[in-house]
Subunit: 199 residues, 2 copies
C-alpha cells in the first residue's frame, strides 16, 4: 500500500538509498524537506549539484578539490618528499586535523578488496607509482585503514615500491584493528604516525 | 582550518543542518553524493525539488498529498463520521499501516507547546473545528503523541469539542505490545497501571 503520495514516496526512496539513512530517517528527512521554506530547499539542491559539478581530483594527489591543485599540494612549505597514502579524502582530512603532519598525500579512492572485486587497477595506484618516478620522493607512509582491505593494499604497495629503494613505512597499529581512520581521535592518529615502522 | 574545498564544506554544512544528521554522517553523505554518478545526483536534486513543489495539504484533513483531496478522504468506503486527530502525516501513515482503522483523519501539523512558542493558532485546530460544524461527525479520536505537548493538545481539543456533544476519545497509552517491562520508563509503567482494564 502506498502510505504517502507519489512525490513523497519517491523522495523517501531516494533518501533511503543513501548510506546510513534507514527507512525511518528517510521519511523523517523527507517531511522535514517538504516543510522547509522553498528557498532553503532550492539552496540545498543547488549545493548538492554544485558540489558534484565543481569537485574534481587534485592533479597531484587525487584528493577531492575544486581546484586544479589542492591546498596541501599547492603549499610550498609542505614536505613534498614524503607522501602519505590514504584510502580517501576523509582520511586525509583526519590527518590534516592533527595539524602535525607536514608531508603531502596520495588518495587511492578505495582499497584492494578481492571480496568486492576491487583490484589494484581500480584505485589510484598507477598514479602513485608515476609520482614516485617523477618526483624526489624519500618516504611513502602507508596510512590505509587497518582493515583486511587496508592491510592487503599496504602489502601490495610495499611490494611495488620496495624495489625502487624508497623508504616505505606503515602507520603503527595504535589504530584499533577494524577501525575507520576518520573515526579515531587525534592523539591515537599521532601516536600511530610516530610509531610507524619499516616494511 | 578548512579541511575540504569550498563546495564540499558547503555541502557538509547544509546536510548537517538536517535533522538526525551529525557532522560525521554529513561528511560521509557529502562524499557519497560527490562520488555518485552525475545522473543519479541530478535525479535526487530533482526529486527533492519536485516533492517540495508538488506536495500540498489535503483540502479535507490537511495531510500532505499531491492531490486536492488525499486518497483516504477521497475513499467513500471510509467512515467519514469518525475523525482521528494526529500530529503529522507520519503518524497518519503509522495508523494506515495497521490497515484496521476505517475512519478518516485530521492532521494538526504540530502540537501545542508553550515551551517552543507553539500556540493553538499555529496548528490546524481552527480547521478541525470547522470540519466538526459542517460534517456529520460522531466521534473524534485524539491520537496525538503521549508527550507533554501531545497531552496538552489532547486536553485542549477535548475542552473545545466536549460542549458540542460529539464523542471525544483518546488512544490508550501503556506498555507497547512485545515490549520488555524492564526497558520501559517509569511514567509509561505508571500510566499502564492506571489504565489497567478488567480481564
Amino acid at each position: 500500500m502506498e502510505l504517502y503520495s507519489g512525490p513523497i514516496n519517491k523522495l523517501i526512496e531516494e533518501l533511503a538509498a543513501l548510506p546510513g539513512i534507514g527507512e525511518k530517517s528517510a521519511s523523517r528527512l523527507a517531511f522535514h524537506l517538504i516543510n522547509m521554506p522553498k528557498g532553503k530547499v532550492e539552496r540545498l539542491a543547488r549545493t548538492i549539484l554544485e558540489a558534484k559539478e565543481k569537485v574534481c581530483y587534485c592533479r597531484e594527489c587525487y584528493t577531492l578539490t575544486d581546484e586544479d591543485i589542492c591546498p596541501v599540494c599547492a603549499n610550498e612549505k609542505r614536505d613534498h618528499s614524503t607522501i602519505m597514502v590514504v584510502e580517501n579524502s576523509r582520511d586525509l582530512a583526519a590527518y590534516e586535523k592533527t595539524g602535525k603532519y607536514t608531508g603531502v598525500y596520495h588518495v587511492l579512492h578505495g582499497a584492494i578488496s578481492p571480496m568486492l572485486g576491487v583490484g589494484p587497477g581500480d584505485i589510484k595506484l598507477k598514479e602513485l607509482i608515476e609520482r614516485l618516478s617523477s618526483d624526489e620522493i624519500k618516504e611513502v607512509i602507508i596510512a590505509t585503514n587497518s582493515s583486511l582491505e587496508g592491510e592487503t593494499t599496504a602489502m601490495y604497495i610495499n611490494k611495488l615500491i620496495k624495489p625502487t629503494g624508497i623508504r616505505v613505512t606503515r602507520i603503527a597499529s595504535g589504530v584499533p584493528v577494524g577501525g575507520d581512520l576518520e573515526c579515531i581521535d587525534e592523539v591515537t592518529l599521532l601516536r600511530a604516525l610516530e610509531g610507524r615502522t619499516e616494511l
